[in-house]
């Protein structure tokens, strides 16, 4: 099946103003998302996730590389064709308040994309707005509300309704629940799952929350400094992480159970600057098992299972496993318990 989205060698450099130099935000990312699937992109802040998402939506021009949408090259799409295409690919951001102008009421906010992209008359638009509100489990009572008078969860529902107004096939979800409470988070994620199934939506789910990505993504791509270091079926990657960075990332997730003693991979060393990327593996400066060879050339992807690959040369002789350790200082309270 033709992927909904294919990125091929995407690069984004941000020039740094008068003094010259560039920020290497995305450094050659290729990926594909099958229809109806969710690709989770995880990585630390600054690793280029949002930049990647914005390029995929043509909200930001790539420096290099190509973007195909449902088989069609849209890298250079412009003018009316680009505007028309926008109806098919939408975005939901972390903080719904960023996306919702406080000067409009909920009705106007959801109606706006309908005005832009459809020729529905006022009555039909209102009907559609109400339908959209219902699909995000809100009622007509919200039509006249200002976003200021919405809770975080309600505001995110409105933002989702607005994103769905033009009936897109593809959504970029950029940290869609990071600003929400646990139980609200749960309900928004359930809503997104349901909408995906009802409408056959394809998601690019950007998050630094590994638990969330594990539960909601089919495929996962782990980003580090603008490169994908490991990618594959979510279950495979989370259960058998091969890249040292993925291993460290997974080992650093904190269990919400104080009786589970943390045991994790301790990292040292500095994260390289995206202004001055080293020539070799970008993780080498923090990698406990880096070799000299890691610092000379970027590692190629190694296939480590069906659809699962990782870019680490130590996979070749299977010396890519990191050891875990207990963190140095336990809680004072834990210490007291231990001494009882």
């Amino acid at each position: 099946m033709t992927p909904v989205l294919e990125l091929d060698g995407l690069v984004k450099e941000f020039p740094m103003g008068r003094r010259g130099g560039v920020v290497h935000a995305v450094n050659g990312v290729s990926l594909a998302i099958a229809p109806g699937e969710t690709l989770g992109v995880v990585g630390e802040s600054g690793s280029g996730k949002s930049t990647l998402g914005r390029m995929a939506l043509r909200l930001l021009e790539p420096t290099q590389g190509r973007i195909r949408f449902e088989g069609q090259d849209i890298t250079r799409l412009g003018g009316g064709a680009l505007r028309a295409w926008r109806a098919r690919a939408q975005v939901v951001f972390q903080d719904p308040r960023d996306a919702l102008s406080p000067r409009m009421d909920v009705r106007t906010l959801i109606e706006e994309p309908l005005r832009l992209h459809t020729d529905l008359d006022a009555t039909a638009r209102l009907e559609r707005v109400v339908q959209l509100l219902r699909s995000v489990r809100l009622d007509e009572g919200y039509l006249t509300r200002s976003p200021r008078r919405l809770s975080g969860g309600e505001a995110q529902r409105v933002a989702i309704a607005r994103a769905l107004a033009t009936d897109p096939t593809f959504l970029v979800l950029d940290e869609p629940t990071s600003s929400l409470d646990l139980h609200v988070r749960r309900s928004i994620l359930t809503l997104l799952d349901t909408l995906q199934q009802e409408r056959g939506l394809t998601y690019l789910l950007i998050s630094h929350d590994l638990h969330m990505v594990a539960a909601h993504a089919d495929q996962v791509a782990v980003m580090y400094l603008g490169r994908i270091v490991e990618t594959g079926p979510a279950r495979e990657v989370f259960e058998h992480p091969e890249h040292p960075y993925t291993q460290a990332l997974l080992s650093a997730t904190l269990s919400a159970d104080p009786t589970v003693r943390p045991s994790r991979i301790l990292l040292q060393g500095e994260i390289p600057s995206p202004i001055d990327l080293p020539p070799g593996c970008l993780f080498a400066s923090r990698c406990p098992i880096a070799l000299d060879a890691c610092r000379t050339a970027p590692p190629e992807d190694r296939s480590v299972g069906p659809g699962h690959s990782a870019a680490c040369i130590r996979i070749d002789d299977r010396t890519n496993r990191l050891r875990t350790a207990r963190p140095a200082a336990p809680r004072a309270a834990a210490l007291m318990e231990a001494s009882i």
Partner: protein
């Protein structure tokens, strides 16, 4: 260069090479139990004017923090956590105001002090990391200068020394290439980077009390772990304490000694961390702990999805089922295949 001959397959059950067993738990001699009372908050109340009645953002808030303690403050958004955190430093902005209560730092009343006196306390004795890092930074000033200004606000040092300390402080919070990044303006930073700058500013003077309002939301878990470990070590080494506002119960479970739970302006429950998780008494706490527990186990295993709660448990999960063995051998086959390709 990598060895082109495939390594022999280790027998099942043998840990792969390069995975030595966990070292024994090291109990560092530096870790000591909580000490003297550092901060005492009695009957704190804070209001904002509302459309009709005032919003009583903080209504019942009594809290004691001792030296070397990390105290977690949890609760849903809007429950008054940030307002309380700001009030502890006399930072509630008008028209909001503290209507009742006392805040004492080492016995010294803070709320009665003038703005000028409070400025001396802030940054030096109490450090604050606010929730919205970008809003807390001055958009017109280079980040290096912002850190250096804080250095100079409480220490008699010349400009060069202040700038050098700024670079070091930025390096300590994991800002790559701080020598160069000092020249950046806040809008040139990602949210997580801005957060790190704020952490650097709040900790540059080794405050005795750090109030951290969701300080790690934008940080990668590996960086978060480094930050929290550093914080914990610093607290132990300098007899400081931390009030940690967070909605991440993983952080609370793994790093905090005590937890206060807020609901609609009130601390409804306060206990040591084990009790909060093993015997939560308030219904809201029970719900919260329940949600966090099943966060560890994904609610939906559609198709092929799952994730164990922690890497420690991955290692302990017996992989004896035929399915797991098959998956493993497929992966090995894949690995070999990859090596024979040019």
């Amino acid at each position: 260069m990598a060895d082109p001959t495939p390594a022999p397959t280790p027998p099942e059950g043998t840990p792969p090479e390069g995975t030595p067993p966990d070292p024994p738990i090291a109990v560092p001699h530096t870790a000591r139990p909580p000490g003297e009372v550092l901060l005492e908050v009695d009957g704190l109340q804070v209001e904002y004017p509302g459309e009709g009645d005032p919003i009583r953002a903080v209504r019942t808030f009594d809290l004691v923090i001792r030296e070397r303690e990390l105290v977690g403050l949890v609760g849903e958004s809007g429950s008054g956590k940030s307002t309380a955190a700001l009030a502890l430093m006399g930072l509630v902005r008008p028209p909001g105001r503290v209507t009742a209560g006392h805040v004492r730092l080492r016995g010294q009343d803070l709320l009665g002090r003038s703005d000028a006196q409070l400025r001396g306390v802030r940054g030096r004795e109490i450090g604050l990391i606010t929730q919205d890092a970008r809003a807390a930074l001055n958009p017109l000033v280079r980040i290096g200068d912002q850190v250096a200004n804080v250095v100079r606000a409480h220490a008699r040092v010349d400009g060069t020394t202040a700038r050098r300390r700024a670079v070091e402080a930025l390096r300590a919070v994991g800002i790559p290439d701080p020598e160069r990044r000092v020249r950046a303006y806040p809008h040139e930073l990602s949210g997580g980077m801005a957060q790190r700058v704020l952490i650097a500013i709040a900790t540059v003077h080794d405050p005795v009390l750090l109030i951290a309002d969701e300080p790690t939301t934008g940080l990668d878990v590996t960086v978060q772990a480094q930050f929290l470990d550093t914080l914990q070590r610093r607290v132990q080494a300098t007899d400081a304490a931390v009030l940690f506002v967070t909605h991440d119960l993983g952080i609370v479970a793994q790093y905090c000694d005590r937890v206060a739970v807020m609901l609609q302006g009130e601390i409804v429950e306060q206990a040591d961390v084990r009790t909060i998780f093993s015997a939560p008494s308030h219904p809201y706490t029970r719900e919260l702990v329940g949600l966090a527990r099943d966060r560890d186990v994904p609610e939906r295993r559609r198709r092929d999805r799952s994730m164990p709660s922690s890497q420690a448990e991955v290692a302990e999960t017996p992989r004896s089922s035929a399915e797991a063995a098959e998956a493993r051998s497929t992966r090995r086959a894949g690995g070999r295949l990859a090596r024979t390709e040019p």
